[in-house]
Amino acid sequence: MVLGAHSRSTAVVSEKLRAPWLLSGLLAVACATAASLLIGPADIEISAVLLELTDRLPLIDVNSGLSPIHANIIWEVRLPRVVLGALVGATLAISGASYQAVFRNPLADPYLLGAAAGAGLGATIAIVTGSGDGMGTFDTVPLLAFVGSLAAVALTYFLGYSSGVRRSPAALLLAGVAVASFLTAIQTFIQQRNVETIRQVYTWILGRLNTASWGEVSLLAPYALLASLVILLHRRTLDVMRLGDAEASSVGIRPQLVRLIVIIAASLGTAAAVAVSGLIAFVGLIVPHTVRLLAGSSNRIVLPLSMMFGAAFLMFVDLVGRTIASPTEIPIGVITAFCGAPFFVVVLRSNRRSLG
């Protein structure tokens, strides 16, 4: 019986997400959300923020005593930024986790197949050509970053397949390296030829949530939700595939197809996240690995927990970025690496679980 074989062989690699971990994930998201909303560069009393937030609840009408500007800061600046940070963090972390799963490679991250380099090239072209048109009504940077990111992944996939990915998934990874180097070379060339825009390009590359608005949230949300949903639906299948393609085929799974679907979903999510927030490094790598080391390596655990801890991690990091040197902004990409890398080393050293 196919189903019986399925459950027997996956028992070793597939584990349920247990309640304590689920709760701790939710708690982390809740704490990070609360802290991010209550603390900020603008000097607003925590109690006033709480009153202002409760005021918007249905059937409750309280006066927070906030000026219109302070109310704007909470509703139009702080809240969308927190939500965007959570969405970006969740998307990058679950995309990274799924890349690691389909490639069975611990070094895989969401930018592996050229997504970052393609987005960087797209954004650079948008910034360079966008200057001086005086329109300013439509921001082409996210659009071109999104298109560039997807085009780069598609190119990688095409090159990887034409050079024998069926023999080894490594062909795809190597194609990704080649595409990323090539696109980065073009991006750098364009950037150097248009040095007056160099600061804008760098700012984009280091990640930006500073100008987050509800508009960006609504751009990212559909892709983030769709990608996460598709990836989560494949969490059991991905566990079976950990046993190898032959084993997976024997229980009726088509590994090539699953891989393609998951890669498309993760790349779509990554492209949308990168388009609105720039290149935020490390989240897609360290969050899933930390989850794996602490909670277990089954994708039924890793994928949902990566989402939650990815969201919490990025909200926390962004809180640091906008408050530690306030009123100066520290680009978020710097802090993800600065806080994330040492933390990850600690987890790595204090744990002997397998990274597989």
């Binding site: 500007i69 600046v77 300013g136």
Partner: protein
């Protein structure tokens, strides 16, 4: 985080070098010797770009100079180019870098990158004087027997005048330089004297780009605003000078500071306008937006410490005099 700041600073310095900046002799970049990015096209239509007083009139002494003065000058600094033409040495200039948009008759060579000057490209013009914005390739040029003058960034008006006088001296245009400097001094004095100054000093925010980079009073631009009696909201953002006077502000901070005037220098680079600024989430309630005190600045003019300073100051003083306070 140091690395980050260094990276951003490097990008700033790189770009600023196009403007004639940086002091690579000491390897440091002084907080008060700044210029901002030249994100400007030759067709810029900014308010500040009124007809310049100094557009190569050549003032006092046009005509030939004595033979021992340079007659084949290459300028790699947009500010120095403006000064050369202002003191009347324009006809001695044979090539200028690709950001020397002003005056229009300056012989721009697109391949001469001011921010990353190439010794061979410069030498191929066989110049007898090269003006650089920093001393990066001074030795290389001098070893080819070419005279070099480094026009470092100014920190205050006296530096500007001194540099113009020096450029007049080395090009044999002293009387032109004296006339140009006197004219500038007079114009600036008139503007400062004629300004209406409110009892309570007005606050301002100078926007460099749409990710909210700004300048502090430690920069040359900020210094000019201080002359006009304005108070910079960005000053607390870079008290230790670690951002070299160019901090990136958080949006919450700008909204909370609620400046009286917003000067935006990112129309050219980033397509910003009163409309786009007013439509940013939460910005419509700002004093400056409600009262219409949102003023476009030609970044090219405000970032250079040359003769067109007068135009920049005139935009600022007009904005201050016309400011509407509820």
């Amino acid at each position: 985080m140091r690395n980050l700041k260094a990276l951003l600073a490097i990008s700033l310095v790189l770009v600023s070098c196009g403007e004639g900046n940086g002091s690579s002799e000491t390897g440091t970049y002084e907080a008060n010797s700044g210029s901002i990015l030249a994100t400007e096209t030759p067709t810029g239509k900014a308010i500040a770009e009124t007809k310049s007083e100094f557009s190569a009139k050549g003032d006092a002494n046009t005509g030939s100079v004595e033979s021992h003065f340079p007659t084949a000058i290459v300028s790699m600094s947009p500010t120095a180019t403006e000064m050369l033409f202002a003191v009347g040495a324009g006809e001695q200039v044979i090539a200028v870098d690709n950001y020397s948009y002003w005056p229009p008759e300056a012989p721009v060579v697109e391949d001469l990158a001011g921010w990353n000057p190439n010794v061979e490209a410069i030498a191929s013009f066989q110049p007898d004087l090269v003006i650089l914005s920093d001393s990066g390739i001074q030795q290389e040029l001098e070893s080819l027997g070419i005279k070099v003058y480094v026009a470092a960034a100014a920190a205050e008006l006296e530096d500007v005048y001194a540099q113009m006088m020096e450029i007049g001296e080395i090009t044999g245009r002293q009387s032109g330089a004296i006339a140009a400097v006197d004219h500038m001094k007079e114009k600036i004095q008139t503007l400062l004297d004629g300004m209406k100054r409110p009892d309570k000093p007005l606050t301002y925010y100078h926007e460099l780009d749409d990710v909210l980079y700004s300048v502090t009073s430690a920069t040359f631009v900020g210094y000019i605003y201080s002359l006009a009696g304005l108070v910079n909201i960005a000053d607390p953002a870079d008290q230790d000078g670690s951002s070299w006077g160019y901090p990136q502000l958080t949006q919450e901070f700008i909204l909370e500071a609620d400046p009286d005037i917003i000067f935006y220098a990112d129309a050219e680079c980033c397509g910003q306008s009163f409309k786009t600024i007013a439509s940013r989430p939460g910005w419509s309630d700002l004093k400056a937006v409600r009262n219409g005190n949102v003023i476009q600045i030609n970044n090219d003019v405000s970032s250079r410490w040359g003769p067109r300073l007068v135009d920049f100051l005139s935009t600022v003083s007009a904005a201050v005099s016309a400011v509407k306070i509820e």
